[in-house]
């Protein structure tokens, strides 16, 4: 775990501005994006902005990487692909991420966001992040 970097991630002005929280229980991390009118993209539906949901998934993906191993720096996204499955309603959003693979330089992460029911996700993210593990033993990464 990279506790100090988790704090850096969560106290960044943008993250604090939109009230994102990470609830950590053991090795499990759940992100919470509390509803706020400033997150609404289209008030006619009303639906949360796709960019806000995408950014939230990125934060949860970074948090999960920091929880899973000691890193020297914040993970940097290389690319992300976000699928929007349902309109995100004017309610809190939750998300969890799975680190599919973590090497010496790059990690592959999948994250999923939901509102009412975990089996009805509103969006998913799949991304690659540049990482700097604290102890990168030679040969510990097959890549």
């Amino acid at each position: 775990m990279s506790r100090a970097l988790l704090d850096t991630l969560m106290t960044a002005p943008y993250v604090a501005r939109f009230g994102v929280r990470l609830e950590i229980k053991g090795t499990e991390l759940t992100g919470v994006l509390p509803f706020d009118n400033d997150l609404v993209g289209n008030p006619l539906i009303p639906a949360l902005h796709g960019g806000a949901v995408g950014a939230f998934l990125e934060i949860v993906a970074s948090g999960s990487l920091l929880l899973s191993q000691p890193l020297q720096k914040l993970p940097k996204p290389i690319d992300v692909a976000i699928d929007y499955l349902r309109p995100a309603r004017a309610q809190d959003v939750y998300a969890r991420a799975i680190v599919a693979r973590s090497g010496r330089r790059v990690a592959n992460v999948r994250a999923e966001a939901w509102q009412g029911r975990t089996d009805a996700p509103v969006a998913t993210l799949h991304g690659h992040f540049l990482i700097t593990p604290e102890s990168s033993e030679p040969g510990s990464d097959a890549r």
Partner: protein, 162 residues
């Protein structure tokens, strides 16, 4: 035909940012809107920093800007009647944005037919040939967006409150 669409785009241009609380919260500006292209910018703000050590804007600002500008290009590309919903958005982060500089994003609707539009966009901090991020996205006019649009039109005609 394009003149009609341009007229509708000019009519709704002010709502594109002002009508979206998240776009307002991030300080977005609309720079250009034609049938099938859109340009927007996000001013640098210390309140939206993602990495306090470097002072770069949070990736979420760029994600939201690219989503919004792609949505605008798709809206015009689809005839400027219904607001499309994002189906997917793929972003390549080419390099960190320079602290202190505004982010500009330009989007082009590559193809649209029926209910679906394909869009490509570039985000940069001054030189479009040295992008911060590029995006490719697909949009679709959904039942939810169509119903919302109809409610808005009725409200504008004074038939129903929103």
């Amino acid at each position: 035909m394009d003149d009609d669409i341009q007229h509708r785009l000019d009519t709704v241009a002010s709502l594109i940012v002002d009508g979206s609380p998240h776009a307002v919260a991030l300080g977005f500006r609309i720079d250009r809107l034609t049938p099938g292209t859109a340009a927007m910018s996000a001013p640098y703000s210390e309140a939206l920093i993602g990495d306090p050590e470097t002072g770069t804007l949070h990736g979420g600002v760029i994600t939201a800007l690219l989503d919004h500008v792609c949505g605008m290009a798709a809206f015009g590309g689809l005839g400027a009647k219904d607001t499309p919903a994002t189906l997917d958005l793929r972003i390549d982060y080419m390099r960190p944005a320079r602290p202190g500089l505004d982010i500009h994003a330009e989007a082009e609707c590559l193809k649209s037919h029926g209910l679906v539009a394909f869009v490509r966009a570039t985000a940069h901090d001054g030189d479009i040939d040295d992008p911060v991020a590029i995006a490719q996205a697909a949009f679709m006019i959904t039942r939810a967006s169509k119903a919302a649009q109809e409610r808005a039109m009725k409200a504008m005609r004074g038939e129903h409150p929103l």
